[in-house]
């Protein structure tokens, strides 16, 4: 499957403008927004649901929601891509939970920790060095490998506690503890001055 890195070709401001135009019912702006963001969002969704048809359903639902709620986007909440990504992830997770058919397949070790690897980022994104993302990556580095692995699997695969425990062959309570402590550490790190 071919990957591309065109989703960040437009600046954050340009994407915000397109979203604002969508709120004004501008179909042309919506098409441009789709052209520039759908590869990245489809990649995200595909990573979570692991099935192309299901990913396509999520993508379609997500963009319809983006169109209908474009006026809700607020720049101070984050970049347009992260706002749209949040919509896609929620939809993907909802569908996964509903279908209960998310197989816990083998996960490559590289993928689990890849988000903390700056070298794995698309070049334009790595150069852009989004402040929030950099801060998050720095804080992720402070987590234990187990905490990082559990958070990565949950985020990118949409796994529940039980599925995580099964996949990692670890008692449920231990997995919950990894997640809880990892998230707390992340929060404290991100909010430290």
């Amino acid at each position: 499957m071919t990957t591309q890195t065109i989703s960040n070709a437009l600046s954050r401001e340009a994407l915000s403008d397109l979203l604002a135009r969508c709120a004004l019912n501008d179909h042309g702006a919506f098409e441009r927004l789709y052209q520039h963001t759908s590869p990245q969002l489809f990649g995200l969704v595909l990573r979570i649901v692991r099935e192309e048809q299901l990913a396509r359903d999520v993508l379609q639902d997500g963009y319809v929601k983006i169109w209908n709620n474009a006026g809700d986007y607020r720049p101070e909440k984050g970049s347009p891509v992260t706002w749209m990504g949040s919509i896609m992830r929620n939809r993907a997770i909802d569908l996964l939970r509903r279908r209960r058919s998310n197989p816990v397949v083998a996960v490559e070790q590289d993928e689990i920790g890849a988000f903390a690897d700056e070298r794995a980022l698309p070049p334009d994104l790595a150069v852009a060095g989004d402040q929030n993302r950099s801060a998050l990556l720095a804080c992720m580095d402070q987590l234990t490998e187990s905490q990082k692995q559990a958070i990565g699997l949950a985020y990118y695969r949409g796994l529940t506690h039980e599925e995580l425990a099964q996949h990692l062959d670890t008692p449920l309570g231990t997995v919950k503890s990894w997640l809880r402590r990892g998230l707390l550490k992340l929060r404290d790190c991100l909010e430290s001055p």
């Binding site: 403008d17 595909l46 992260t82 896609m88 989004d130």
Partner: protein, 239 residues
């Protein structure tokens, strides 16, 4: 489960955003997000913390058919009574109040206009406030009886880019089509008539765009300049 403990709310919000919350607990929490301001804020905080991870996923072009399906689903966009209910929920207004801080100069508005000839749609029933990022009212608009005209009053100065003006639009409820109504006054009062041909298209919504000063009747809104600042802000007549 009682959600009175802020630490508990924060923990569940983290799990919700991460995606590990499942089953009835997820459904229950999703409902709470729409009902409670503190829960919504906790979720937003965790979204802000974790969302940068979404930008890391490798890009994969979706199949072309996906776009065709999306287009078929968004046109036209029905705006029916259910929208009005959504706009008038307490949760919505709590949310509105907490997110009113914008980086730019002004906000736009959406006013759900009443049905023509509907009972109780007397003059002054429907008041719209347009506010800046400090939540100062800039314009106040109220509708005349039968919504044949809109009375607009500029009540506070507003920083506007040179050579720009604000236009008022009507967005059709059924089709989503946009029709320009007129220029919002830079000072004082103005009356903006609702053309007879547009009255049958009500109920609809009012929106504001920022345009070049010379542009009084563009085919459609959308000056990208400062569009952050012209976010559509729904204003209900029942606030």
């Amino acid at each position: 489960m009682k959600y009175d403990d802020p630490e508990l709310i924060d923990r569940i919000a983290a799990e919700y955003v991460l995606g590990t919350l499942s089953g009835p607990a997820r459904t229950r929490f999703q409902r709470l997000v729409t009902e409670r301001e503190d829960v919504r804020q906790a979720v937003e905080s965790w979204n802000r913390r974790l969302d940068p991870l979404a930008e890391h996923a490798p890009a994969v072009p979706p199949p072309p058919a996906a776009w065709e399906t999306i287009c078929a689903r968004i046109a036209p966009i029905p705006r029916d009574e259910s929208d009005r209910h959504w706009l008038q929920t307490v949760a919505f207004w709590k949310r509105f109040a907490s997110t009113a801080s914008l980086i730019a100069v002004i906000m736009g508005i959406i006013l759900v206009l009443p049905e023509p000839n509907s009972p109780g749609s007397a003059a002054g029933d429907y008041v719209v406030m347009m506010e800046d990022q400090l939540r100062r009212a800039i314009w106040i608009i109220d509708t005349a009886d039968q919504v044949t005209e809109l009375r607009v009053e500029k009540v506070a100065p507003m920083e506007m880019p040179a050579g720009m003006q604000c236009l008022l639009w009507l967005k059709e409820a059924k089709t989503g089509d946009m029709h320009v109504l007129g220029v919002l006054p830079d000072e004082g009062r103005a009356t903006i008539p609702v053309p007879p041909k547009l009255r049958p298209k009500l109920p609809g919504t009012l929106m504001v765009s920022i345009e070049d000063a010379g542009s009084v009747n563009p085919a459609r809104p959308g000056k990208p300049l400062d569009i952050h600042s012209s976010w559509m802000m729904p204003i209900s007549s029942q606030i």
